[in-house]
Subunit: 684 residues, 2 copies
């Protein structure tokens, strides 16, 4: 069907809404929405299938705005198509407690798939969404039941194209031959510093070709709707490669500052806004105007989407009769509940069981549960043998033509791409049918910090399997030994940082990570062996903190995590020889411990005696749980791990010495309160 | 000169040393050294100019082993050429307190230029070293005085090639047309997960071409020394592009496991080591053997390097007569001292001066000092207008043929590449003639965490200009508002985190950042305006903490940083209305405050009254300086910043309320000690 005046009107409606919302907020980015309105219109109205009344429909096409600063584009579309984003929401753009924040947040706004804005992230999320589609289709589709066949579309700009996380993800997508992924590169030659000539002169399409992508170029992205349509159509026909369309556009199209950096991140001046509206055929004196024919056109498309969902629901019902188990599995996954009784598979340990590294204990968990939790998709950033993330007989998720796996595979080889791994996992989780777990060394979770933060902010159930969690990794040395890492992620809201001390605690960590539907987890695991503790159980550990060794007459509480808990138990014996009585608390996850009731918490770290924390890394933050802190506020050392521990006095004697000093120091303080007693509550 | 048996012997000596050192340590990576020994031999012995007796000679060729796990290659070379790395040091490979740690650390080992191992970093460091050479040459070279003309060589493997930081840096290097940079890609098809086929099937050379690099391929990197030499020679001839040579090699060449992942990260088994030695013509029963002719050959080359330095010294002396000012400048830069009296240029402020955002105050500092500190090279990751990192009339560092700057330029447009910016700055600093400062939003310093950590570990004087430092950035919202960031970097050893409260504190932050020769700094700066405080001076602020408002009868100390200090001063007035007396301490840099003497510190946060910390982000770590903490342990909100502050009760009333609760809570505790009193000293 040829494009009409109504199409043009729709495009200009999007543009004027972006002008009006940024002007009213006196803040925001009109440039990208004005430049990308044509492609957005063609994509949403001609290609995408979705039902605004049910943004959660699993087989909807996914759209990601990786250049998230252009979010007025997306908010305008959501409103116009009839998502639960009202005109008032647009008028509240960038206001406190609105659902239209400065960058799109999936947890806040219906129709936003993933949280974007930090550049490069959305692009990598889209790769995750595409992987999830490919995998879910392979698992569930059957002849006659093409249940899962959606596409993932992503817009990205020069900023995203420059970010390493997007490069990593693009290389991954090319390797994986993701034919269901279509990226549109807004080639407007402008970033915040002005012309991209000043920093970005590479041949982007050639680079994507090198990654194995199909590439096209649409030269007039401002006007040539037919060419845009044709390019997207071609991209959909390419089944064995991801596609990228370079779309040359004019940033801030219609503004007097069109094509310049001046229109990137600032609202249009009043006179500019007026002339633009006139140019677009809108009344320059009116704001937030939507012509009825635009609503009509978009609502018609939305209705088609609703009908498509209806049809899908019928197909799914029919599928249920033919494939009841698969039907049940998919239906369950969409609730994000785990299969009933899965937790009975979690391994438990007795003190007489052998000492095992917690990275191996983690492997044992994965081995035990992967059958009962089919949505678990594990992987590693090229450290499979070190992270122990792969269960025996796992199938790799790979394009079948490589001969090393297939699309049903549940093990992802991310390559040495930690940041993309994390961002891809955010996309996998956002798709709704997968729980991703991905491994790297704890120290290199920091490479992924930008995406890890978004796991938390966007409430994704993502599991970071972070092995080699301390100087205990030994010979690799300070470049690989985390010092600041746990403090970093403990300071991150909505993140569970687990550092289990033994097998039961490792099972507890997985229990919490898997059952917390909207909180990601970092599991900090050892390279070195850990004894099975007397007094640890899954039930105790899932409280985040508990008493490992009680003693009613204790003069001090040793508060510890992971590999140092058993060291503290040794230190108790050393102290006993000196006539000093101590008790030990294990705090595998302070975030979970924090939300227990106060009485319980005070039973773990009580009033009346001092507490000494023992963790072989930065002490930062331990003051919250202890009166004194024994840690490592310097970089580590390269050597056999026992030597390294000794160098830094992480021995029973080193701990005992500090316990004695702590008892002595606090003997005159009355009342000596547990550090858990606070003068006021924190805002949460 | 054709290659002889001695060349082969030298190559096999490197290989056997790598076998022996990893075997003795029972740890380490023999594969890369065995595979890359031929190219290392050709490069070091035929092309590189250096004087092992003076590893600091400024015009030496730079070598970076980006695949730093192969460090036995580098340690062997350093030993063989006569650097201060003894045979005993090789025997102590990966042992505590050795100078041959598990990955190369520049601060520990003579001849190591930059600290590598975390993949991708070395590649980006090399880009920094090459930029530094290009810039230093442009500033100091004169007709007849080609003082600075060294090359930078970098080895990298598949792991580095997959990392986003290396992609970002490669794109930057291509844009900058760095003809002095030669990279050698160890194309051995093996990473830790095995064959690169499982995750990395892109066309790497085509990608580098897309970035604007000159590319070559040497097909037999195991044997074809002539082809290696020819390729490096050609690469040196290319003056207007960086060069990459894809070198196909066999990992662990000579081992029974050659060409497999089995030889990547594990020592050879005893029988394998023996057969390899026999194959190489070495006595299988002996270890750590260096034939005298190998020492002779390498020492001869080292002597040539020493002579080259001698010649250079004479040239430099002569240069001094013709260009005394430039001579003095370069000589001074090499001491890392700043020009005398530079600090008099630092702006100072009176309380009557207008309120200004600290990002603007930072700009004022740069404007004031850039003339007197010519080694200062500023830049931004595409946020120039927001970070305020560019002084008026700054010249961009750009290839002259782009027409937008030249090689003498002192402003670097890093593009939207935060991670590469940080890693490039590490290289710039390591070169020895430059102090780099680079801007991004504080939240996106996290994207660069991998490189920031190495700024600290490798003692680089790098300045991170981190603006938009809190929810005070307002409308951009939670995706851009740091919560965990300062806790993260405060937990990082050897990092100064500054959060100045006004103009004098901003000047103090720059004073410390510029004069701390082996400590990097993060300057957390506001978007919003800050009043000039009564009672702030540069002298007080350079202590890291001081009393802004004293009151002998105070019932509480409010401890704060940055934008919240003036808020605390307002809160004092609110408290006064309630009959409560408070004092205020500003702690712009806790790391600097920590090293003041105890008496001084206790004068700032004294015994006897409680302290309440106030900082509008994670409270993690503030327990060290206060009894109670007011902060934000959740994500922020999108809206005008005053509204956002109000939402989270960061108002004089909100602070006063918590101060009252704090006073009340601690009124019965005797003695009430300052939190600065500790039971024992931390190891440092």
């Amino acid at each position: 069907m040829p494009y009409t005046k109504t199409d043009e009107l729709a495009i200009n409606t999007i543009r004027t809404l972006a002008i009006d919302a940024t002007s009213k907020a006196n803040s925001g980015h009109p440039g990208a929405p004005m430049g990308m309105a044509p492609v957005a219109h063609v994509l949403f109205n001609k290609f995408m299938t979705f039902n605004p009344k049910n943004p959660e429909w699993v087989n909807r096409d996914r759209f990601v705005l990786s250049n998230g600063h252009g979010c007025m584009l997306q908010y305008a579309l959501l409103h116009l198509f009839g998502y639960d984003v009202t005109m008032d929401d647009l008028k509240n753009f960038r206001q406190v407690d609105s659902i239209t924040p400065g960058h799109p947040e999936s947890h806040d706004t219906p129709g936003i798939e993933v949280t974007t804005g930090p550049l490069g992230q959305g692009f990598a999320n889209a790769v995750g969404l595409a992987i999830a589609q490919q995998h879910t289709a392979a698992v569930f589709n059957k002849p006659g039941y093409d249940l899962i066949n959606n596409h993932t579309y992503v817009f990205f700009g020069d900023g995203c194209a420059m970010e390493g996380v997007a490069s990593e993800a693009a290389s991954t997508a090319g390797h994986l031959q993701l034919g269901n992924l279509i990226a549109i590169y807004d080639d407007n030659h402008i970033s915040i510093d002005g012309d991209t000539k000043c920093a970005f002169t590479e041949d982007v399409m050639k680079r994507f070709e090198a990654y194995g992508w199909h590439t096209q170029h649409v030269e007039d992205g401002d006007h040539d709707l037919e060419a845009i349509e044709e390019a997207i159509r071609k991209a959909k026909e390419v089944k064995d490669k991801p596609s990228v369309i370079k779309l040359t556009t004019t940033i801030g199209f219609g503004s007097k500052l069109a094509g310049t950096g001046g229109v990137h991140g600032n609202p249009l001046k009043a006179d500019d806004a007026k002339q633009a509206k006139e140019k677009f055929g809108f009344d320059p004196e009116k704001s937030f105007v939507v012509p009825q024919e635009v609503y009509d056109m978009y609502h018609k498309h939305a209705a088609e989407g609703a009908a498509a969902e209806q049809e899908w629901n019928q197909l799914f019902e029919k599928y249920g009769k033919e494939f009841p188990d698969l039907h049940k599995d998919l239906a369950r996954r969409l609730t994000r509940d785990l299969p009933e009784g899965w937790q009975n598979k979690l391994p438990t340990y007795k003190p007489t069981d052998p000492a095992v590294a917690s990275r191996k204990l983690s492997e044992t968990v994965l081995e035990a549960i992967h059958d009962v939790i089919p949505e678990l998709l594990s992987g590693s950033a090229d450290l499979t043998g070190s992270n122990n993330t792969r269960w025996k007989n796992a199938v790799d998720f790979q394009p079948p033509n490589l001969g090393i796996g297939d699309w049903t595979g549940r093990y992802l080889r991310y390559g040495v791409r930690e940041h993309a791994m994390a961002a891809i996992m955010n996309g996998l989780s956002a798709y709704g049918t997968i729980i991703p777990a991905g491994g790297t060394f704890l120290n290199f979770v920091s490479y992924a910090a930008g995406a890890v933060r978004l796991s938390s902010l966007s409430h994704q159930r993502v599991i970071y399997v972070a092995t080699h969690d301390s100087i205990g990794l030994g010979e690799d040395g300070p470049t690989h030994q985390p010092i600041e890492t746990l403090a970093h992620f403990r300071a991150l809201p909505n993140m569970m940082v687990w550092r289990p001390a033994d097998g039961n605690e490792t099972s507890a960590a997985y229990y919490m990570a898997l059952t917390s539907k909207s909180t990601p987890s970092i599991l900090a695991l050892t390279r070195q062996n850990l004894p099975q503790l007397e007094g640890s159980t899954i039930e105790k550990a899932i409280k985040g903190g508990y008493v490992v060794l009680e003693n009613k007459d204790a003069q001090i509480t040793l508060v510890s995590t992971g590999s140092e808990v058993s060291l503290c138990l040794e230190a108790v014996k050393t102290l006993k020889e000196q006539g000093i009585t101590a008790r030990v608390a294990s705090l595998p996850c302070v975030e979970v411990f924090d939300v227990q009731d106060k009485e319980y918490k005070l039973s773990v770290i009580p009033d009346g005696i001092p507490a000494l924390s023992v963790e072989v890394m930065s002490t930062l933050g331990w003051e919250k749980y202890s009166h004194e802190q024994f840690g490592l506020n310097r970089f580590g050392a390269s050597g056999p791990y026992k030597e390294v521990y000794k160098k830094f006095e992480f021995t029973p004697e080193g701990i005992a010495k500090r316990a004695v000093a702590t008892i002595d120091f606090y003997k005159d303080v009355k009342p000596l309160r547990s550090p858990l007693n606070r003068a006021f509550q924190q805002l949460i």
